[in-house]
Amino acid sequence: MLDVAGHVLSFSFYEGLVFGFVAIGVYLTFRVLGFPDLTVDGSFTLGAAVAAVLIANGVNPFLATLAALGVGLCAGLATSLLNTKLRIPALLAGILMMVGLYSINLRIMGGANVSLLREVTIFTLTSQFLGLETRIAYQLLVAGVLAIVVFLILNWFLRTEIGLAVRATGDNEQMVRGFGVNTDMTTILGVSISNGLVALGGAVVAQGQKFADVGMGMGMIVMGLASVIIGEALFRPKGVARLLLAALGGAFIYRLVISVALRLGMAPGDLKLITAILVIIALAVPYLQKRVQREWLPPAARW
């Protein structure tokens, strides 16, 4: 029994770390930039597809993972260019990219999925190198190191002069322009980095589960949002570092709840519905609370 609990916990921790990249990406667009970016579903699979195909063709898995990150950046770049240069609303730009990426991902993989069963991944490479036998041990190690690196880089970046401008763009775009910031550039930068992280998550997840599948990104945006919302609710974070940790923590709690629910017999197919309901509740509660208190509230945003 304890064994099972320990396994569920450590596995959720691993999943929290790898899906944490997605959560941090979603946090960057939705919360920091105020840019509801739906590219995520496509860029997650894109990262997985690029990494899987490169690895299957004998490329070093770390290089392949880095390439996935780069391609994710490009997907974010495309979405943000649609928005800033062609003035297509953020939500629609993301949907367009997501749909377009579905075809691109199929092309990259040359089919609906790519198996990595016999390939050298960042996980198998590390386990060979360090002589670690237990799968969960080296999975946790690799994902943990990657998460720490991403956390440190972002925690630094968001405090730099450019990072501050990116954050301020989501907070008060008019003010930032008034202080000489090209808000098109900061939006492009933020959305690109976000999708780079999401693709990185896709690449790592694909290597962990030893396959990439064209449908694996579906609902990723909702999962990311659920993680961010859970993180905010549980940790009430203030400041950049804690916000980033809250996204990671939220992803962990979310995966833990899902793992437990699956163990208790929830059908895997119901997972997305339950996630969606979770997010609906989390988004509706603050509004309903204010309604009960009879506070004035603006009508729902269209975009």
């Binding site: 630094w156 970046f157 405090r159 730099t160 002069e161 450019i162 990072g163 501050l164 401008a165 954050r167 301020a168 907070d171 008060n172 008019q174 003010m175 930032v176 322009r177 008034g178 202080f179 000489g180 910031v181 090209n182 808000t183 203030k238």
Partner: protein
């Protein structure tokens, strides 16, 4: 007005909204304006006179119609986008929420303001040296903000935010400061504090300033030059001596003579705190 002291020149600035429709509005009509260095101009006028449109044109929110020219320090800036013009123009808005970022700390807001006109890089935005600078810039407010650099701006009151917005707008010494009814939404006491602060900053930094206001008394008491706008034109332009001994009703008379219309907008006569009707004058 010698040529060398001229800081900002507006030449034949026209702005038409909803062009070619039945809603067409000529918000600015061939405006010519020469602003000298260290001028402190108060612009007054009723709703729709074109005051805010004029500030928006200077700040680059939208371009003037073809043929209009905006020149700052001898450089034509008509074609520059808003964010590029920010190097020359600092602005405080009527709404305190516009001039500051709520979800960021006072320190981070100040760091944003400090880097106006500079290339932003990958250095961490605030350091000890900059914090000392922010401390020194905020101390004169007497609001204690200098000791709360880590506080989120969203938790400050409207007056505190407006005072902060003013300090931020002037922190990196832009060539010209635009004040867009910046005390209109504040309560009388806070409005006075922000106005005193404005006076002090403009004086100390020798800042060239254009202040738009609805309030005649305010326009008479502040600045060395008073401009009255009506239907997109400048109808009254007085220098220090001309406006020195004026009372509000003199302004009303001047307006009626210049515009050829009876003065009907008594919202212009509102003072913070008490209402003065035409009959009181």
């Amino acid at each position: 007005m010698s040529e060398s002291r001229s800081l900002l020149k507006l030449k034949k600035i026209t702005k038409i909204f909803s062009k070619g429709t039945i809603d067409e509005v000529r918000a600015l009509d061939k405006i010519n304006l020469d602003v000298d260095a260290e001028d402190y101009i108060a612009i007054i006028g009723s709703n729709g006179a074109g005051k805010t449109t004029l500030l928006n044109i200077i700040a680059g929110v939208f371009p003037p119609e073809n043929g209009g020219k905006i020149i700052i320090n001898g450089q034509e800036i008509s074609g520059l986008s808003e964010y590029k013009r920010a190097n020359y123009v600092g602005r405080v808005y009527q709404d305190p929420h516009i001039g500051t970022a709520a979800k960021m700390s006072i320190e981070e807001n100040m760091a944003m303001a400090l880097l106006r006109g500079q290339r932003r890089g990958l250095r961490v935005a605030s350091n000890k040296q900059r914090r000392e600078l922010f401390h020194a810039a905020l101390s004169p407010l007497g609001l204690g903000l200098e000791n709360r650099l880590g506080t989120l701006v969203g938790t400050l009151s409207g007056g505190q935010r407006q005072a902060l917005a003013l300090v931020m707008a002037t922190l990196s010494k832009p060539a010209i400061l635009l004040l867009d009814e910046h005390v209109a939404t504040l309560d009388p006491r806070t409005a006075q504090i922000v106005l005193d602060l404005t006076e002090m900053l403009v004086e100390r930094e020798k800042m060239t300033t254009i202040m738009v206001t609805h309030n005649m008394e305010l326009a008479l008491r502040h600045g060395n030059r008073l401009i009255m706008m009506h239907k997109g034109r400048i109808v009254v332009d007085m220098n220090q001596e001309q406006k020195a001994d004026l009372a509000i009703n003199d302004l009303v008379v001047a307006f009626e003579r210049a515009s050829g219309e009876e003065f009907v907008d008594d919202s212009v006569l509102l003072r913070p705190g008490n209402v003065v009707g035409i009959s009181d004058l």
